[in-house]
């Protein structure tokens, strides 16, 4: 058997860098699609905890509402999607 290639990750010029840690990915996803830090028309800034924001996202996506960044939630966050936020502002 051949020793598996030790994959060396490089930065490709012109690549829109997306290598984020899972929690960074989750944080930016929850903010981008309106689950966290929603600014309301009345100017009220409601800070929502990550766990609560995850629950809301899991409900919207029909996942089990664990409030945890579990595998299925993370996988869904990596899927191609529409850019319109899920929580309307």
């Amino acid at each position: 058997w051949s020793v598996p290639l030790k994959s060396k990750f490089i930065t490709f010029p012109g690549d829109i860098l997306k290598n984020m840690t899972d929690s960074e990915l989750a944080e930016s996803y929850l903010k981008k699609f309106g689950y966290m830090n929603t600014l309301h028309r009345s100017g009220f800034q409601s800070m929502v905890s990550t766990s609560k924001a995850l629950k809301r996202m899991q409900r919207q996506m029909g996942l089990e509402e664990t409030g945890e960044l579990d595998k299925s939630t993370l996988e869904l966050m990596k899927q191609p999607r529409c850019g319109v936020p899920d929580v309307a502002n």
Binding site: P13, G14, D15, I16, S42, S46, V48, P80, C82
Partner: protein
């Protein structure tokens, strides 16, 4: 389904659209057709019609763009965000934008429409056999003019049916040269170019001159992507170069080496280590038709659905034989009515099911019950000394304050004084002393009272109840109903904890698509309000001594003390 706040929709049914530019991934006639079919998805189930304009402002302006494309929501390179659209309205409202760092196809690999040849513009047939070899892409084999071609049937040698593939040597699109092909080499800013370039542009689109000197003639067009072209990267549109060297190793096909996301890429020159020119390899791509149908749903007023099979679900998934899900149809018909219906009518509530109260839960007799012994009311009980009430609600036009078996009321007309206390059991004998919430159905004048997991319905002296709130379709996880808001005819929102449900009063059933989070819809109010009620056109959310008042545009326009502002203490 969800609609945007305020049920944003077009105030006319003859909606117009305009395609502002094209993607190099597909021939423009394929893109026109994909958009037309995407609009037809919605016109098939509503009275809406869609007319294409070729100039001036249309309701829905459609464009492709990359990364920062001129609005506050930049795209993010290949994959991730595919497109977005704005709800109906003036200006950018209603517009749809598609990320051109994506590989736009019809969902199953490169969609290659041929030109010229002898197949009348038929699509390439992949794979096809040519001189005993199988091809899965266009090829220049068999030709000396380097024009890529394909067979439009599975076997060229048998059928001799072929056509030419998109190539900058054959035609360009957009620009100002009426689709003329590129001329190589051409001069641009004094430099000679022998292939398409993105130089001189900030939007990343590849272009070429259609004469040999752009500086003199200013004639140009955009280069169509060849089906073998790489996507994204820094060599968009160039074909892979096989073999190529990467980190000293030779590759004869696409690889995911060097990347953590597993995406297949290739170099577009023989040596990546030297030239660093690369791109992602063509894949199945994203169906422009499906993504457009979703985005046009937004442009018509639909927000995202939580039904995984619905078109308006946020994530992309390819569907072979597409048809609208009933959730999408209900949503769009809520806004615009059905194909035949002359007026947009919200979906008819489900026909009331036969009353399914089980015998064990027989409601109280509806005859006025014998008067129980009245607990004498302590007239010195002062409402102004209460820190918080069990519930506050409007009954018979008067604001009622319930607390521990007593209630006070104040007429809605101005400077009226507070009356009470009165005994709850005197007016509503069947009720317990603690009422969590109550509302009066405006149509039938029936009065609903909730306490814990039970509810009672009074009509005059007649009472039905107690019954379990599960009979209304509320889940058994709901311990108590803390608020009730009438919403239009026959609909009432019931609040509990951080959620709310919509009750169809006539059907006595909770509507589909609930619960929803309170603070997702009523932004800016506490999501643990212990009371929610409607009063004089405003919505009040109460927590302890305070209330948050929300106007009809769902903006919190006042926070105050129940005691001073409502009880007038």
């Amino acid at each position: 389904y969800k609609t945007f706040d305020g049920d944003l929709k077009w105030d006319h049914n003859d909606v117009t659209y305009r395609i502002l530019n094209y993607s190099p991934d597909m021939e423009s006639s394929l893109i026109d057709d994909a958009f037309a079919r995407a609009f037809k998805v919605w016109s098939d189930v509503t009275p809406l019609t869609f007319t294409r304009l070729f100039s001036d402002e249309a309701d829905i302006m459609i464009s492709f763009g990359k990364a920062d494309h001129g609005d506050p929501y930049p795209f993010d390179g290949k994959d991730g965000l595919l497109a977005h659209a704005y709800p109906p309205g003036q200006g950018m409202q209603g517009d749809a934008h598609f990320d051109d760092d994506e590989h736009w196809t019809l969902g199953r690999g490169p969609a290659v429409k041929t030109r010229y040849g002898n197949s009348d513009g038929a699509m390439c047939h992949f794979p096809f056999i040519f001189e005993g070899k199988s091809y899965t892409t266009c090829t220049t084999e068999g030709r000396t003019d380097n024009l890529p071609w394909c067979s439009t049937t599975a076997d060229y040698n048998r059928d001799k049916k072929f056509g030419f593939c998109p190539s900058e040597l054959l035609y360009t699109f957009g620009g100002n040269a009426d689709g003329a092909e590129c001329v190589f080499p051409f001069i641009f800013q004094g430099e000679e170019y022998d292939s398409c370039t993105t130089e001189g542009r900030s939007d990343g689109y590849r272009w070429c001159a259609t004469t040999n000197n752009f500086d003199n003639d200013k004639k140009f067009g955009f280069c169509p992507n060849r089906d073998t072209a790489v996507i994204g990267g820094n060599a968009e549109g160039e074909p892979c170069h096989f073999p190529f060297v990467f980190l000293g190793k030779q590759y004869t096909s696409c690889t995911s080496e060097g990347r953590g996301d597993g995406k297949l890429w290739c170099a577009t020159t023989s040596d990546y280590d030297d030239d660093k020119k690369w791109g992602f390899c063509p894949d199945q791509g994203y169906s422009l038709f499906l993504v457009a149908a979703h985005e046009f749903g937004h442009a018509l007023g639909l927000d995202h659905s939580s039904i995984r099979e619905a078109l308006m679900y946020p994530m992309y998934s390819y569907v072979e034989d597409f048809s609208l899900h009933e959730d999408d149809i209900e949503g769009i018909q809520y806004l615009y009515g059905s194909k035949t219906g002359p007026d947009p009518t919200p979906p008819q509530p489900n026909p009331p099911t036969t009353d399914d109260t089980d015998p064990t839960d027989e409601p109280e007799p509806t005859e006025p019950t014998t008067t129980t012994t009245m607990t004498p009311v302590d007239p010195t009980k002062d409402a102004c000394k209460m820190t918080k009430f069990d519930t506050i609600t409007v009954i018979a036009g008067e604001l009622h304050f319930f607390k521990d078996g007593l209630y006070w009321k104040i007429s809605s007309s101005n400077n009226a004084g507070l009356k009470g206390p009165f005994s709850i059991s005197e007016k509503w004998p069947a009720l317990p002393s603690v009422i969590d919430s109550a509302f009066e159905d405006l149509l039938t004048r029936k009065q609903y009272f909730f306490s814990g997991t039970r509810f009672w319905v009074y009509q005059g002296k007649n009472v039905l109840g107690p019954r379990s709130i599960e009979k209304l379709g509320l889940p058994n996880t709901v311990q108590k109903v803390e608020g009730a808001l009438q919403r239009g005819k026959g609909k009432v929102l019931l609040f509990s904890g951080e959620n709310f449900w919509r009750l169809d009063v006539k059907a006595q059933k909770i509507d589909k698509g609930y619960p929803r989070y309170t603070d997702a819809v009523f932004g800016g109010v506490p999501n643990d309000a212990h009371d929610v009620f409607q009063y004089k056109g405003h919505i009040y959310f109460c927590r302890d001594r305070f209330y948050w008042r929300m106007n009809s545009r769902r903006q919190v326009d006042r926070v105050g003390y129940v005691k001073y502002d409502l009880l007038n203490c």
